[in-house]
Symmetry: C2
Subunit: 341 residues, 2 copies
Amino acid sequence: MEKQAITIYTVASEAHVSMATVSRVVNGNPNVKPDTRKKVLEVIKRLNYRPNAVARGLASKKTTTVGVVIPDITNDYFAELALGIDDIATMYKYNMILANSDADDKNALQVVRSMFAKQVDGIIFMGHDVSDDVKAEFESSNVPVVVAGSVTNDDSLPVVRIDYQKATQEATSKLLKNNEKVALIIGSKSSTINAQQRIPGYQKAYEDSQRQYDHRLIFEAHDSYEEGYALVDRILKTGATAAFLSDDSIAAGLLNGLHDHGVKVPEDFEIITGNDTKLATITRPMMSSITQPLYDIGAVSMRLLTKLMSEDQQAAEADAEQDGNSNVILQHGFVERQSTK
Amino acid sequence: MEKQAITIYTVASEAHVSMATVSRVVNGNPNVKPDTRKKVLEVIKRLNYRPNAVARGLASKKTTTVGVVIPDITNDYFAELALGIDDIATMYKYNMILANSDADDKNALQVVRSMFAKQVDGIIFMGHDVSDDVKAEFESSNVPVVVAGSVTNDDSLPVVRIDYQKATQEATSKLLKNNEKVALIIGSKSSTINAQQRIPGYQKAYEDSQRQYDHRLIFEAHDSYEEGYALVDRILKTGATAAFLSDDSIAAGLLNGLHDHGVKVPEDFEIITGNDTKLATITRPMMSSITQPLYDIGAVSMRLLTKLMSEDQQAAEADAEQDGNSNVILQHGFVERQSTK
DNA sequence: CTGAAAGCGCTTACAG
DNA sequence: CTGAAAGCGCTTACAG
């Protein structure tokens, strides 16, 4: 017994109106006589008619679906952003196609391609830097893309983020007060966010304190607890007595690793972490941290995207798009907890 | 300058074949002469033709998209499951529409409705219990649904999970060895997973040890660190000296709360947590835990769903569907760490 | 192995 | 305020 799908055609004939009229009431078009509307609404209700979004998407060229590429859904930082994105998306009646890129360029490309194939109306890109292939995909499409919570090598893309340079500078400066050698622990040194923001911020802090920074104090690590934990020996060997870490998982790993090596935090080693996810308060000692409006970064990104998507619709060919500065920099802060003196 | 979309029609005319033939080569249909295939493939490449998945979805009634409802994307437990789901989905060329339900029935209903409107081929439902409305949605659709990582009040739904009753029983029994009063901390007492699995398991453990359980030792809490932290006083007041908690965030909260109240874990209070997410190893002391194959629960759910989706296609009306037992129970275990003696 | 044609379920000008 | 008709970009029998 195949359930016979009831379509706009069924409704139209039951209500003795045209499909166009049914379409109008479904879409809230005001140009419908109240009586007609009422009649149609009744039939819709009686038949429990549900518009087919796929058909609508094909006809209207709008899918009310956005693509969200996330490096790792199990990383609290990105998960918080995703929560903000989802809330706003839902508010605007958008669905989100979420796909993990594993921070891998090959995956990211596949993911983006498949999102375009599905005709998403926009994309939120979380991740550091974009491969040439992905950049090409973005450029050859008319679909707006916004970068959330990072800064990439593609500066034609609008981005919502904090001032990573300043944040890094501030954290490093704080640490420099009580310590001669402050380590910086980040992802890839060559990624844009690190090369152009965090490392310069780190250097500036050294300059501010009239000291020369030592590049050997800059460590690369993937965003995982284990890598942080494994870093202990190498960091200690440099004589560093403090560290700023861009990722909370790594920071938690380092913190616990230090403890297990008998190094006391903050007495013998100070730590400031970068994202203030819940991890920061779960560790003992709790970690002092740069604070970020994580949820808001996601929410603002999605809001910006909705704006771009509707402009896209109107402006269409008005390629004026002086896309000068659709970038938005949110405020960050600092919270002192137990991992600093 | 609207970019002129290039469609299957463009390819067909450039290659001097019919759209049907282009469709065949795109879909890997073997009934195409090698020469023809080659010619078409060349044109596709030259034009950089990308099939429109929306049109395909409308015509074929398959969207290669699945809906995933998740109570809270920022909860490590669900995020780990989602990772497994996404990996397998990607492997099978499915995209996933991910939506947070906030563990709220109203939201879940909206979310599910909008997934059906988007014509998803299947749904993975994470969450405890399903409202009547949602159940009705599920039943009135032909779309297969699988429940991942819980057990719900709708036992017509296939589910992938562990044996929560046994796990709870084992954990409680362990704790009962050194403690007279062992608390059980769960979500809602009336949810199916708790009423039919965890509470009975808890009681059995008491029976096994020839003791009478005290229902006042069963606490309800939402899955958050803060609630766990706030629970300390109430739990201590009962005289309990140990607890099994179903959620790691709550457990971490309790653990830290205990510490801040000067109660030593495990010396004065033993803790076993339920999900073995990364939190369990980040806290100090690290938490002993029931272990679960989190990623696999997600992966197996998705695999099961793909199976159901293709059966659905074939069986179609063969409603035989003795849906006897598509349930799959994965193995759990236990890992001793530092929160137990 | 290949093509012509209908159809998927909507929306969108266009007329009136 | 309403309807007839074309069209969105594919797939799917059906014929041959």
